[in-house]
Amino acid sequence: MPDAQLRVFRGTPETPGRFEDYTVPVEEGMVVLDALHWIQANEAPDLAVRWNCKAAKCGSCSAEVDGRPSLTCKTRLSDFDLAEPITVEPMRAFPLIRDLVTDVSWNYAVNKTIEPFSPPDDVPQEDWRWQQRDIERVQEYRKCIECFLCQDVCHVLRNHETERPFMGPRYLVRVAGLELHPIDQADRRSYLKDEGGIGYCNITKCCTEVCPEHIKITDNAIIPLKERLADEFYDPLQWAWRKLRGEPAESAAGTPLPVLPHTDLPPAADGGVGPAGDAGGD
């Protein structure tokens, strides 16, 4: 089997970033993360890589491989033309810590602003009943492994040229999982519209394309949420009803999202492709 050439981003915010080339012997079935581990064990013991399960279940090893946001643990070397170098860079939407590791703490801060699961007070748990078909969609949302690839590829978060924040596809999926739970009682629609900035999503479906769990983020989570909002805020009957009952449309949460700090990486040595680029063999 031929060797693979890996062109890996190295650097910290304080030092100028650079790409280093490594020649890695290829075994059958090898993935990009195996190659990075080989580099650590043989060439660069201090190469910073975040990973845990190595089975596409924990969502730690996200990076951009030939410009495409990917889990390195399930990106097979056999999907690439090994005559060309494979470029591996950190996720660009988040501030760099070192090499392939970025600071994703912003995501955790966003998660905190979401109103949690709110079951009814007046139905004892012994009486909770729902069918498998009632939760298939919710279970699809809950497959999310929080790899943040959808956040990374999202052009709203990547560019965020606006001061108005956007929670990003990951957290729209989480809210969808709460809103569509058979017995959840909370109403997160104002939150989605105001703090969550759902209106910023213009349904380009880049997030769906990169989701390693194959969650149909746009079609099954974001669009249904947008439809709920349309009913709530733009349906004249709903509006009149709300007025009559004197219900405020304000969110109960009211916590503004944290601001996503800017990050700048140097361009890839070979001019890596932008978001949802289709370079790379898959």
Partner: protein
């Protein structure tokens, strides 16, 4: 507040009532319980929140809810757990576990977990090895993800401070108790100190001591080693569970877990001759619990897949893990293995859509990583180091260790599972004892006045130990050390053990320890995995020695501990003794036996006539 990092300062210090080290299921559940009891809580984890090993748990959480089998009770769950553990379990822990697991599972549902449903709309339960009844509440084959996400959201909402990507390297000790912990941020390498009234170790297992393991890099025995060095006792360290079914190919994923749910859903094990070999390996005294023919096993599978009750008994593949692992190992050793050194596991005789719905992540895992479609053909599987039954010795009621102020829970603790753990019992273990330990630690903290005082001399020493490998000019490579340790443990302290091998292992560990004392790394402190590995290898050396010495001490075979030179189970001499390890004089490791906690007559009756 979530704290990924902190600005520079003299020494970053966070005094708390309860410090929880480890944010898998056990640590999260303990943190929530401590917070609910009114304690201030800091939760420290080596990775990002939500990435801990619990996320890998697939099959389900065992609890006698009785939704599928109305006859199921905590008493039967208790008996199954004790029988599976070869009666070496702490009976009080097994009792509390069986009694409280249903409430802990229902509590998760209340916090937002979305389990699969029965036809009448309740939490569905699936069968698993060693469990008399279908008992595992589950979400397809990603139950652990559902649990960790539910607990994580709950913990964050409860206002627990989470310190992500932070490693604890030392426990600080006072005259009367453990006074806190010292560590560093992996992101920056800066030191951090937690003066704590109570410290809970929830650091998980030790799988990275072995070459072939289902465990991630995090499983380096940190908690067990920290507790040992702080003077606490470890028990039953000879009992390391080799899960029967790990992937064997391709090389990069060797050891990766193939959930027992594959067998729970009807997966059949065959050797290279096409023989369903598990029929030959059923222990005689338990044969009556299993199907007698292929036809009966198939009837059982059909009933299960439709969620119906049946009088058919379960297939032989659902024997306990220790037994199935030895069977597979023996088949391979005797030349009846598959091309890549495993055996075949086949679920492809069931309808493809059923397999994809019940085992979605297995379907993905094999398709993406091994080019195998499990709905069309068999998987290749072999044993993989998975779980350690032994661990830090704890009090059943509160999780207190033998050192005041120090608590342990989950895989890091020992006693609950005896000589062999049943599948599904680890997730219920971490919920039941997570809640108890968090409460126990909070109560201990509440009994103390003022802030915890930490000895500055110990802190200075711990700080120096961090710097040494970075400052040393040339020395041992931590990656090479870890590789050598893993291949030695795999070779000499694996599924089958013999005294000469164990003696050799103890000698080799001494040599590896000497090399470790001279380890050196470059590259600075910022997110430097080589530097991080130094401390993990140090912990692995300690717990590997505990495993090897405990294995040498127990001259019988029981559960996951199989001695070729002592193949019999010797109830008279070993049936009521735990192996205990602690640090003795001159920092030598001491091994001895202590009596198993007595089992009240009422519990003993539950075990039935055979015991």
């Amino acid at each position: 507040m979530l704290l990924a990092n902190r600005p520079a300062g003299p020494l970053e210090t966070h005094p708390v009532d309860v410090l929880v080290v480890g944010a898998g299921g056990a640590g999260l559940r303990a943190a929530i319980a401590a917070r609910d009891a009114g304690a201030s809580v800091a939760l420290v984890c080596k990775s990002l929140l939500g990435k801990a090993h619990t996320v890998m748990a697939e099959g389900g959480v065992a609890a006698a809810l009785g939704h599928v089998a109305p006859d199921d009770t905590w008493q039967i769950h208790f008996r199954d757990t004790m029988v599976g553990g070869k009666l070496l379990n702490n009976p009080r822990m097994a009792q509390l576990h069986a009694m409280e697991a249903p409430d802990r599972v229902r509590e998760l549902e209340k916090w937002g977990a979305v389990f699969d449903r029965t036809e009448d709309g309740r939490i569905l339960q699936r069968p698993f090895g060693g469990h008399t009844h279908p008992r595992l509440a589950h979400v397809g084959d990603r139950t652990g993800l559902e649990m960790i996400r539910t607990l994580q959201d709950r913990a964050v909402r409860a206002g627990i401070d989470v310190y992500m990507e932070c490693t604890i390297t030392h426990l600080t000790t006072g005259p009367e108790r453990i006074s806190g912990a010292f560590g560093y941020w992996r992101t920056t390498g800066r030191p951090i100190l937690f003066p704590a009234k109570a410290t809970v170790l929830a650091t998980g297992g030790i799988g990275k001591a072995y070459e072939i393991t289902s465990n991630s890099w995090e499983y380096s025995g940190d908690g067990q080693a920290l507790a040992y060095e702080a003077g606490a006792e470890l028990i039953d360290m000879e009992f390391v569970q080799f899960h029967p079914t790990g992937m064997v190919w391709p090389p990069g994923v060797r050891g990766l877990l193939v959930t027992e749910a594959v067998r729970g859903e009807g997966g059949i094990l065959r050797n290279n001759d096409g023989e369903r070999f598990m029929w030959r390996y059923l222990p005689e005294d338990r044969r009556a619990e299993y199907a007698a023919t292929d036809e009966e096993a198939t009837r059982w599978v059909t009933a299960q897949s439709q969620g119906k009750q049946t009088d058919a008994r379960r297939p032989p593949e659902l024997s306990t893990r220790d037994n199935v692992s030895r069977a597979i190992y023996t088949e391979v050793r005797e030349g009846r293995g598959s091309p890549h050194g495993g055996v075949f596991l086949d679920i492809s005789y069931l309808p493809p859509e059923h397999v994809r719905r019940k085992l979605p992540s297995m379907y993905e895992q094999f398709k993406e990583l091994a080019d195998v479609d499990i709905t069309k053909g068999p998987m290749e599987v072999g044993p993989t180091t998975h779980y350690v039954m032994g661990g830090i010795r704890v009090d059943a009621e509160t999780g207190a260790t033998t050192r005041p102020g120090l608590f342990a829970v989950g895989e890091a603790s020992g006693g609950m599972h005896g000589a062999n753990r049943l599948g599904g019992n680890s997730l219920s273990d971490l919920l039941v004892f997570g809640a108890r330990t968090g409460k126990g630690a909070a109560a201990f903290a509440a009994s103390l006045d003022g802030e915890s005082y930490v000895d500055p001399v110990q802190v200075a020493e711990a700080g120096r130990a961090l710097a040494v490998p970075l400052e040393r000019d040339g020395g041992e490579d931590p990656y090479a050390l870890q590789r050598d340790l893993q291949s030695m443990m795999q070779r000499l302290v694996g599924i089958y053990r013999v005294e000469a091998d164990l003696d050799e292992a103890i000698g080799e560990l001494e040599a590896l320890r000497a090399r470790w004392a001279n380890v050196a790394v470059g590259g600075g402190r910022t997110y430097n995995p080589g530097w991080n590995l130094v401390f993990e290898v140090g912990n692995l050396l300690t717990i590997s020695e505990a495993i090897a010495r405990s294995a040498r001490h127990r001259t019988e075979s029981r559960g996951a501990h199989s001695r070729l030179d002592h193949p019999e189970t010797d109830d008279a001499n070993w049936g009521n003794r735990n192996t205990v390890v602690r640090q003795g004089r001159n920092q030598r490791m001491e091994v001895r036996s202590t009596a198993l906690p007595a089992m009240p007559a009422a519990l003993r009756e539950l075990l039935g006539a055979a015991h």
